[in-house]
């Protein structure tokens, strides 16, 4: 049963609170790296909420929050360059899957991703006891030398598939949500199956405000954004 998972991020609702970042770190066993490593640009969070400044009329500076998870592109630049097929396009979920134990760490996919959403395990990040009690059993803890990225919480998608399968029904819209979409207070992050025409995601795809990051590069990302609006008048 084929599905095409897609994520819609409504930048008009996104307040930049970072709840998605914390939820993703909790769900996907992401290590925390400390100040010196963060200073070297080695944060390990899979989704980053980027705050851009922009000068607008009345020379007022506005902040724009761009939550950037993995785009799960249809024509993913990272898939073709990996020499060992550690990252490839999954057939029945149409997500860009990452096979950790095949990765040998050439980091070419990290370089080739225009969105720079791939992070690399520079060290064997040890979690001080008993913080490791919290590790999620549904997915691996990556060793050093392996690339990792947002996987649309593939373990939650699998769990959703299994429950739907055992109850003999298709997956309901909104039943399978990655950790960020589930916890986003204003509901800016929506997730769903593009093949299902009634799903919220398909509807939002038709919204005129729809745009994709770096669409000119032709990667056809599955993570789509809705433009931030500006009320008329002052």
């Amino acid at each position: 049963m084929k599905r095409r998972w897609a994520m819609v991020i409504d930048m008009d609702l996104c307040t930049g609170c970072g709840a998605c970042v914390a939820a993703c770190v909790a769900e996907n066993n992401t290590p925390t790296v400390g100040e010196s490593e963060a200073g070297k640009g080695r944060l390990m969070q899979w989704i980053r909420v980027v705050r851009y400044f922009r000068k607008e009329e009345h020379d007022e500076t506005r902040a724009i929050f761009v939550a950037t998870p993995c785009m799960h592109c249809e024509k993913a630049p990272c898939e073709i360059v990996c020499p060992v097929y550690a990252t490839y396009h999954d057939e029945d979920d149409h997500v860009n899957a990452m096979v950790y134990n095949r990765c040998i760490g050439t980091r070419y996919c990290g370089n080739n991703c225009p969105y720079s959403v791939r992070v690399f395990n520079w060290w064997d990040y040890k979690r001080e006891k008993p913080l490791d009690e919290q590790l999620n059993p549904d997915l691996t803890v990556r060793s050093r030398g392996v690339m990792e990225k947002c996987s649309y919480c593939i373990q939650r998608i699998r769990r959703g598939k299994e429950t739907a399968l055992s109850e003999g029904r298709p997956i309901r819209d909104g039943e399978v949500l990655p950790a960020c979409a589930q916890t986003c207070p204003p509901g800016a992050i929506r997730f769903g199956d593009l093949d299902d025409p009634e799903s919220a995601v398909s509807r939002m795809m038709k919204d005129p405000r729809r745009f994709r990051l770096m669409e000119h590069l032709g990667t056809e990302p599955s993570t789509v954004y809705l433009k931030k609006m500006r009320a008329p008048g002052r």
Binding site: D12, A22, A38, P130, Q134, G187, A231
Partner: protein, 731 residues
């Protein structure tokens, strides 16, 4: 010629080749390990509903427990406050549960008083020490017992209150650095109700916020975050407009359609400027009341006067006022920065006046005051204890500090995350006063600045391991009681504070034993809710008792007679010559008042605006920085008349000129490895001055000076300072 050995060798080789080549089934497809094959079943896990105590908002949570370990916290979909959503601090609760520095055994002081050196002792010895202290104080002078905690509610508060009353000591102080005293007294002056209102953000069409960072901290960030989402997108044809007045472009202001920078403490004048235009343009439904107000002095607060006072352009104030007047139902809210000035009540009353003039009190999309007491009639006189106490408790705390100074107390019971030794201004000399109390007992899960001053520390479970109930301060419009339950078996050998108090009361005997007649705190809860005629098991499964229907918005008594609040100027300590900039301190979105500083996930969460991690910073506007010769990332010494610290400059392009802003939360000295040396503590810069009417702490009441100094290291920011302006590159 082939000899026997050669034959055997060749025979063996061919056999092996056959084995290897022939019979291995050709792999049909390569299945990656990320998506394990179908027959690989995922482990089953249980979900327990409980209440989040990472901040006083009281959201409902469900926690995934797999093999007896808590794995993930998510919002409880049934809970009216957060409707299945949760903020970053809520998610980080797991790190508090499994924190390496959690206290496992009771600690007894093992060095000079206040040194923070302890040694572990068994529970029996600890309780014996507690009991000898309590019984001796009870015998000689019961009033010499002080209980200093953070604001408690629900039956936890009831047990503590009964214990203290039965013990015979009136001194029970609840300290909350972000108390809502100014809100309460302003609401009383404007609406006639001394309570926190319900803001129907989702239903409003025009939202005016005066320094109210309700999306990041404030009363209930997740509730307002969710409501903000519904205000923008829930209604097909309506998209609520949001205008923010405030000293700096905060995370909340960034989501506004228009941000108008105003000098700190002048929000009231902006509000009156708007009121002036609304009355002049006859955009207020109650014309008569508006006329009376006009003559009572509103006519002087022209937009131009307000513009000069606040720094916001007069034309903008006029335009916003006209839009606010014509887009009803509108809603005006004020936040912590407006409330914690010396003229806090004036600012909030002026903002409240806008709601009255717009006639949105008791209407959907406006403001209303639910009768919270009605739901707890069955608890009789003590129902008040269950409700969230919004006061900051600052006057009572100052009084208690004076008494401690004079040695009036013989024993102090400390508890809670608000950590007064860290969050109080230094001029109060809280530490010296506390150390004059002969025996200090702390109930805590971590050693922080206040707990390390004590003589005996009794480890308490985190909120994920104890029973409890909670009433959220805002967001449920009616009676919604959240029930907390342990989601994992207690992780350390700990006892919750109510259990200890109940055991102590039983041992003290007499009226104390009578006041707390239960075997344990859980029994107290079960008895309290047994009478409510509900299936407690089912409620625990749902995470609370939710009536499901928020009662209709209620009108306020003083609606008819809007009175002009007495204008007052915000006073700032320090002469402007030596201290040119006004200090604006705000709770950081990840660490709030400082309680989250020992959680690595929160320390590494980039701040929404400054995108800095693991350190605090001082924000200055471009013109001010140029005037002081500072550039982005320089090290400066921030000094106020009361203290000084070092921090890195973050060049904030959208901040009122002449303002230096700093996030609170960093600067801990004794709060564990993750919170140590993360920058200076801004609380140490603050004066002990108070809000004129309510005597609440006035944080925005000092001036600072910035002097460039050489500092080691740099501020780690996740967004490149040059690249942050090139948003177009990713389109």
């Amino acid at each position: 010629m082939l000899n026997r050995r050669g034959f055997l060798k060749i025979g063996g080789a061919t056999a092996f080749a056959a084995l290897f080549g022939g019979c291995e089934r050709l792999p049909k497809t390569l299945v990656p390990f990320v998506i394990p094959p179908e027959n690989y079943a995922l482990g089953e896990s249980l979900w327990y509903a409980s209440v989040c105590r990472q901040c006083p908002a009281g959201c409902g949570i469900v926690v995934r427990n797999s093999e007896g370990r808590a794995k993930k916290i998510e919002g409880n979909p049934l809970h009216p406050v957060n409707r299945g959503k949760l903020c970053a601090r809520g998610q980080a609760g797991l790190q508090a549960l499994y924190h390496p520095e959690r206290l496992g055994k009771p600690l007894k002081l093992d060095g000079p008083r206040g040194s923070g050196k302890f040694r572990e002792i068994p529970w029996e010895e600890a309780l014996r020490l507690l009991m000898t202290g309590l019984s001796s104080v009870r015998a000689e002078a019961p009033t010499a017992l002080l209980m200093l905690t953070d604001p408690m509610r629900g039956h936890r508060n009831l047990v503590s209150a009964r214990f203290m009353k039965a013990f015979g000591s009136p001194h029970r102080v609840a300290w909350d650095p972000f108390g809502q005293d100014a809100h309460l007294s302003a609401n009383e002056a404007v609406y006639g109700v001394r309570d926190l209102p319900e803001h129907d953000l989702a239903g409003t069409r025009y939202l005016l916020s005066f320094s109210g960072d309700f999306l990041e901290t404030g009363v209930s960030p997740v509730h307002f975050g969710h409501a903000y989402g519904r205000m923008r997108a829930a209604r097909p044809t309506v998209r609520g407009k949001f205008v923010h007045f405030g000293p700096r472009l905060s995370m909340t202001a960034a989501s506004a359609d228009a941000f108008l920078p105003v000098a700190p403490g002048t929000e009231g004048y902006a509000a009156l400027g708007i009121a002036h235009v609304m009355v002049r343009e006859k955009l207020t439904p109650a014309a008569a009341a508006a006329g009376r107000l006009w003559n009572a002095g509103l006519k002087e607060f022209t937009p131009e006067a307000a513009g000069k006072k606040t720094g916001a352009p007069a034309a903008d104030i006029e335009a916003v006022a006209r839009e606010f007047g014509s887009n009803q139902p509108g809603l005006a809210m004020a936040g912590d920065a407006a409330a914690s000035c010396t003229n806090g009540v004036f600012n909030l009353s002026a903002v409240g006046l806008l709601n009255l003039l717009a006639g949105n009190v008791g209407k959907p999309g406006g403001i209303s005051f639910p009768d919270r007491l009605a739901a707890f009639a069955s608890f009789g006189a003590e129902a008040k204890l269950l409700l969230p106490a919004a006061e900051s408790g600052y006057p009572a705390l100052r009084d208690a500090v004076e008494r401690m100074g004079k040695g009036a107390f013989r024993m102090a019971l400390l508890s809670g995350a608000t950590n007064p030794a860290f969050t109080l201004p230094p001029s109060l000399k809280f530490e010296e006063a506390l150390l004059k109390v002969p025996t200090i007992v702390s109930f805590a899960s971590f050693l922080d600045e206040t707990t390390s001053l004590s003589d005996l520390v009794l480890p308490t479970p985190t909120y994920l391991e104890e029973w409890g109930d909670d009433i959220a301060p805002a967001g449920h419009g009616g009676e919604a009681i959240t029930l907390g339950q342990p989601v994992v078996a207690p992780f350390r050998d700990t006892r919750s504070m109510p259990d200890v108090l109940i055991a102590a009361a039983k041992e003290l005997g007499g009226p104390a034993a009578a006041a707390l007649p239960w075997g344990s705190f859980r029994e107290c809860l079960d008895k309290a809710y047994a009478g409510m005629g509900i299936d407690l098991e089912e409620s625990h499964k749902n995470g609370g008792i939710f009536s499901g229907k928020a009662d209709a918005p209620r009108r306020a008594p003083k609606e008819g007679s809007p009175a002009l609040p007495k204008a007052a100027e915000a006073a700032f300590a320090g002469d402007p010559a030596r201290y040119p900039l006004v200090l604006h301190v705000y709770p950081s979105s990840a660490l709030s008042d400082g309680r989250g500083a020992n959680l690595p996930w929160l320390q590494e969460l980039p701040d929404p605006i400054a995108t800095a991690v693991w350190r605090n910073w001082v924000e200055v506007g471009p013109k001010t920085a140029a005037a002081l010769g500072l550039s982005d990332g320089d090290g400066v010494t921030v000094s106020s008349p009361f203290g000084s610290l070092q921090a890195f400059v973050f060049l904030h392009p959208a901040i009122a000129e002449g303002v230096a802003a700093m996030p609170l939360g960093q600067g801990h000295s004794r709060y564990g490895k993750y919170a140590a040396d993360r920058g200076g503590n801004p609380y140490a810069l603050l004066p002990a001055s108070v809000e004129s009417a309510t005597k609440a702490p006035a944080r925005h009441s000092t001036r600072v000076s910035l002097v460039k100094t050489r500092m080691k290291g740099a501020l780690v920011r996740t967004v490149h300072p040059e690249g942050q302006w090139l948003y177009e590159n990713i389109l």
